[in-house]
Assembly symmetry: C2
Homo-oligomer: 409 residues x 2
């Protein structure tokens, strides 16, 4: 059951001028399931993306990179669930390209103007014929208002669709930002999450869009983990249609650039956190904050060691303040010259450990109280510098094992 997350209400999601979305049931893996989504972008839109660092990256990820580097204007995106088209070799690449060609043919575009995305089972051939057969229905469905349908159309083991929307004033003009994401397992994004799409009608210098998508990913999707398994298909895409009437933004350091980035980041973080809230089997949402490090990198290293520890995660599931497990994870995070006698540990407002040992004032019932909550912040102070960073994760429950033991059946 997702942690403090509810399904988006379609009417809360603002359409983004310049973006239309259509969804269909193509039967990629199972019948009667929305599994094919197309995004149609008006001429003039800029698209940028960040993709998985997994060396076994999926065929569609390879094709996305090619098409984005190719320099032709991206005018459409096609997303299927049910099959990741990863671990599929040269044949998989051909199938990803065939999907782009099929959609491009129907839209009068070059295949290189289409970005493909796939998510689902790895190492099985993508049924391109079913996707092609589903395209007419998806295109006929295309509407600016279909963000909620798209959020549903890209789900796999997600229990809820994930979509957020906001509006911000830029130079007296209302600018819209709307995004969707999916993912619940195989989540330790390394550049981006499983799938995330964010669009805005903001008018912004095209060169800034790639910078923005990278900075947004680094502060949102690149800070969440469920099981530490970096996916083969992680993709996060930002679309700017430039249709809002304000003067173009040419720097992210300007007032307008800063306001836009803050609003985009708000949506991106909500999307990323919602993946954790709906993490496979999740019963708790955990914020791991590491402070007092020499660099942000070492803070992240410690935060991920905690966030990936099966022992820490099962203790959260059990609401058991077996907090020495957190200290053990700090100790094996890989910081060679870490001094345990400088380390403090907090659970929300409870000061658990002082200078590497149990705080004499710590009472088990205080730890117990916090561990029972559905949202918990672990705060570790390393005492060796001024850097800090945060990672979001969830617990490890029986349901995680059940879901992943039964995924394909």
């Amino acid at each position: 059951m997702p942690v403090n997350l509810s399904a988006p209400i379609a009417s809360d999601l603002h359409a983004v001028p310049g973006v239309r979305i259509g969804v269909a049931e193509a039967g990629v893996r199972k019948a009667h399931r929305k599994d094919l989504t197309v995004f149609l972008l008006d001429e003039g839109a800029t698209v940028a993306g960040v993709f998985t660092k997994n060396r076994f990256c999926a065929a569609p990820v390879q094709v996305c990179r090619e098409h984005l580097e190719g320099g032709q204007a991206i005018r459409a995106m096609v997303v299927n669930t049910g099959n990741a088209n990863a671990g599929t070799g040269a044949d998989g690449l051909a199938r990803a390209r065939a999907t782009c060609a099929a959609l491009a043919g129907r839209l009068g575009l070059d295949a290189r103007q289409v970005l493909p995305f796939s998510t689902g089972v790895i190492m099985e051939p993508l049924p391109v014929d079913r996707i092609e057969a589903g395209l007419p229905a998806a295109l006929a469905d295309a509407q600016p208002a279909h963000w909620a349908r798209a959020a549903e159309g890209i789900m796999t083991t997600d229990t809820l669709p994930k979509a957020f929307s906001t509006q911000v004033q830029i130079g007296g003009t209302t600018v819209t930002i709307t995004g969707i994401s999916k993912g619940a397992g195989m989540i330790r994004p390394n550049m981006a999450t499983m799938l995330g799409f964010l669009a805005t009608d903001a008018c912004i210098a095209p060169a800034l869009v790639q910078q923005l998508v990278r900075e947004l990913a680094d502060q949102s999707f690149n800070r969440v983990t469920i099981d530490g398994d970096t996916s083969t298909n992680d993709s996060f895409v930002l679309v700017a249609t430039h249709q809002a009437a304000h003067a173009p933004i040419t720097s992210l350091d300007s007032d307008e650039g800063g306001a836009l980035k803050a609003a985009l980041l708000e949506v991106a973080q909500k999307l990323a956190q919602s993946i954790v809230r709906d993490g496979e089997g999740a019963t708790k949402f955990i914020t791991v904050r590491v402070e007092g490090g020499r660099t942000g990198e070492e803070c992240r290293q410690v935060a991920y060691a905690i966030a990936h520890s099966p022992l820490v995660k099962t203790a959260f599931f059990a609401s058991d303040p077996n907090l020495g497990r957190i200290l053990a994870a700090v100790g094996y995070a890989g910081i060679e010259d870490l001094d345990q006698t400088l380390i403090d540990l907090y659970l929300d407002d409870v000061h658990v450990a002082v200078q590497g040992g149990r705080n004499p004032a710590y009472r088990e019932e205080d730890g117990q109280r916090v561990m029972k909550q559905s949202e918990i912040t672990v705060r570790v102070v390393l005492g060796r510098g001024d850097a800090a960073d945060t990672v979001w994760t969830c617990d490890l429950s029986h349901e995680y094992v059940t879901i992943n033991a039964d995924y394909r059946s």
Copy 2:
């Protein structure tokens, strides 16, 4: 339920001349449980050890290092379960030293001639008074034949005691090697396992003992993982009593040195593997073999990525040949220039993937057949060099979550 592992039979375990062992119920954490073990070593024995690289290493680990470096002959070791004396700060160090002093006092030794070991819950004060009170019973129990009792005396969440013994001819003399180990969770040894004790009466140059313990650990305890959680208390100790009548071994490269090392390694690997076989919730014993790497280090890196992936481990638990998850783990193992089109994957004798894609000859029923076995070898060929390495692990089951959610209750 342990995977193809049974309890040792006391009469199969050869006594090691020069070593006596006593076990008692000290009530460290729970009553009526063998939780205190002492090893008494004859004068002249050499002791060497390797310890956890966890920066939150436990107080007894710190004291062991001090006493081994101090240069005084080690004459006794004391092991308690129920409490790890880790994450306990300066007070924990004082308690570890007090334990040594108490045993030394009863034996007429200096406290620095005693090595302390603790295993159990982290961040709780060690009840030294109960340990002191238990020492007379442990000392009264001391016998050369008590290896099976010791294997039982050091258990925590282990379901079976772990002990192996062998004999080897060195220069016409029968030399004995006997060892015990414990550990079932928080297992990704980094120098050594949770606790491992190996003793031999071989006559060997004392300077070689430290080299031997390191080489043995690297090929046994440092090649197993259950949950990737490197413990705060990992300790592996080798005792050589030198009481066998053969000529002293002065080089591991001699025939005698090689024969001794091979016999020691056989016992060390059995002890290490038995920890995985009795891994928390384990239903399968998995050998992960990575070949064709540029270095052994990168082979281990890939093998550990596979062995730690919750998705791979749950697929093994489910006997589900969802083998793309293994390719995904290979991809995120961190080898920057890995070429997926060179990679082959085998499950025992079944050739699953060729050049990064599904083998056209692979049939799901063949994968299914192997996945149902209780012992499975995953073999990945990286296609970029001649190095290889092997890691042993187990699956991730519901029982793992149950055990670790309930550990302290």
